[in-house]
């Protein structure tokens, strides 16, 4: 039993992830393009799901999540390129570094709520972006860093190959979302939800609200950081563009349009928005307009997002 999650529940949830994993195994047969898009979708899905721990479960709106993705990406990249540290280790180090940045933002913003919290997370994201642009000696500024080493091969497996990398990303995605899923079903998850529902009520029945808010930040930023690391060693080029406000809003759109507070919703959001972006390639300059419109429509008519719509339809069908 982990944090109040019984073995039966653990196995039942694990079963779904194994089935989804099995279904996704043959996907690379659809060709390089589909494989490539799917890899990016999966990395975004983990990032959006990790953001859901903050936004959906703890009720802490964050407009700076891309910053943590970028911190993970730059950390792993710089460790590999300057000190020759294996990306396998660097990616984890990136996750931890993202959590350290999460603390730097999380602790001072503990008492902030609503729009004040949103503005401070937004400001933090912009600070990280400015640092990446201006610390030339470390990050090469706006030029970005090309030639990032790929994940080192294991035996015959060469991770420069999209198909091989696809399976790394698949395992990473399934394991990450599974862990987050377990978290939401655990005592910890319920405590986080109690903070979302009413901070004062939670405090009055013994919940150490500041401590658990910090935990939520640590967890959410860790997974964003790891996704960032994998992204860097997959595309093998990063630039400050991955930490912009636009990116943060893109990730938040996935979480909201997918349905926040459901964990799986943001994963669906990542799929839908990524597909939309591929379809609208030629109208890219209008993308924020479209996301904005979608968010407004979802919040107005279906606050529980795509997940809620699917749930609603399934219920109707059953009846």
């Amino acid at each position: 039993m982990i944090l109040g999650v019984t073995k039966e529940v653990l196995l039942r949830i694990a079963k779904y992830y194994i089935i989804i994993g099995l279904i996704l195994i043959p996907l690379p047969l659809a060709g390089d393009y589909v494989t490539h898009v799917t890899i990016l979708v999966m990395l975004y899905a983990v990032t959006a799901a990790s953001l859901d721990i903050l936004v959906g479960y703890t009720g802490r709106l964050s407009l700076g999540h891309a910053a943590f993705f970028a911190v993970g990406a730059y950390t792993s990249t710089l460790l590999a390129m300057n000190w020759g540290i294996s990306p396998w280790i660097g990616i984890f180090a990136g996750g931890i570094m993202a959590s350290v940045f999460g603390l730097i933002l999380g602790i001072p913003s503990l008492k902030l709520r609503g729009p004040y919290l949103a503005i401070s997370t937004l400001g933090f994201g912009v600070i990280v972006w400015l640092m990446l642009i201006n610390l030339d000696w470390l990050t090469r500024g706006p030029l970005g860093i090309p030639g990032i080493p790929p994940l080192p091969g294991i035996g015959p497996l060469d991770f420069r190959n999209k198909v091989t990398f696809y399976y790394v990303a698949l395992i990473f995605t399934l394991v990450s979302i599974f862990l987050l899923h377990i978290l939401t079903q655990s005592r910890m998850g319920k405590i986080l939800m109690s903070i979302r529902e009413d901070e004062d009520a939670a405090l009055s029945v013994g919940v150490d609200v500041p401590l658990f808010k910090v935990y939520a930040f640590l967890i959410a930023t860790f997974f964003a950081g790891i996704s960032g690391g994998l992204y860097a060693h997959y595309l093998r080029y990063i630039s400050p563009e991955i930490s912009t406000l636009g990116e943060s809003i893109y990730i938040l759109s996935m979480t909201i349009i997918g349905g926040f507070g459901t964990l799986i919703g943001p994963v669906m959001g990542a799929v839908v928005l990524s597909l939309l972006q591929e379809l609208l390639r030629s109208y890219l300059e209008y993308r924020y307009l479209i996301y904005g419109l979608l968010i407004i429509l979802v919040m107005k008519f279906f606050p529980s997002g795509i997940y809620g719509i699917i749930e609603f339809i399934l219920k109707r069908v059953r009846e």
Partner: protein, 246 residues
């Protein structure tokens, strides 16, 4: 004395909401706090339960100075309050509402075995008469049941003293009786109760002792009979013709 407040003062800018109030609550009793609107009752509760820092005075709970302690620490020490405007965790099941305090006070990582925790939560729901509602979302409960859920959730912290802020506020007479039965049962189970209440029928019937506040100051303290005969209390609050009903 399980709780002693000594010269507690709380100011908001120029307004003195609680002015040099001292009182003590005896172990095992039901202690009432009454007074007109704006007398400082809820502010006093907020100070004792750690939501406000007092500008002066000390609060002693079970021999320990708890002045300025954080609310979640006090809940773990056995001093738990409820809210006048109930604050259920609306989007969560009734059972989960009661499990949260059990996790929070006994431990999230270790603490009670999950089966034990659920068993305890169900006992408490049974105690307040909400067991049949355990699997519905708290938002589905009507006001009367939310009031009882509020008490159940506070009880789940296993308090030594329960502070109830208008537990009968806005209830129909029948619902009020249900809540009062629960309060009596709480006391019978050995928990000290401090209660703010506006309804005189309620307060005069269940309290051993009552303190009266007016404009932040304590103007009287005593048994319900003494209070109902006190000239100043009658003038400030009760009105000329109030008599104790048995």
């Amino acid at each position: 004395m399980i709780l002693e407040a000594k010269n507690v003062t709380k100011r908001f800018g120029g307004l003195i909401a609680v002015d040099n109030v001292s009182f003590g609550v005896k172990e095992g009793e039901i202690f009432g706090i009454i007074g007109p609107n704006g007398a400082g009752k809820t502010t006093l509760f907020n100070v004792i339960s750690g939501f406000y820092k007092p500008d002066g005075g000390r609060i002693i709970f079970r021999g320990q100075d708890i002045t300025g302690n954080k609310p979640h620490k006090l809940a773990k020490l056995g001093l738990t309050r409820t809210w006048q405007i109930v604050k259920p965790f609306l989007g969560m099941k009734v059972l989960d509402n009661v499990l949260i305090p059990i996790y929070a006070t006994r431990g999230v990582v270790s603490g009670l075995d999950e089966r034990e925790a659920v068993k305890r939560a169900e006992e408490i729901l049974e105690f307040v008469g909400l067991l049949h509602r355990k699997d519905v979302l708290a938002e589905a409960l009507p006001h009367g049941e939310r009031k009882r859920l509020e008490i159940a959730r506070a009880l789940a912290t296993e308090p030594k003293m329960l502070m109830l802020d208008e537990p009968a506020g806005g209830l129909t007479p029948t619902e009020m009786d249900e809540v009062m039965d629960v309060v009596r049962k709480v006391r019978e189970s050995g928990i000290t109760v401090t209660i703010i209440e506006h309804n005189m029928r309620v307060i005069m019937n269940i309290c051993e002792r009552i303190m009266v506040l007016n404009f932040g100051r304590k103007i009287a303290e005593g048994t319900p009979e003494e209070i109902s005969r006190n000239e100043e209390v009658i003038k400030a609050y009760l009105g000329e013709r109030f008599h104790v009903r048995s």
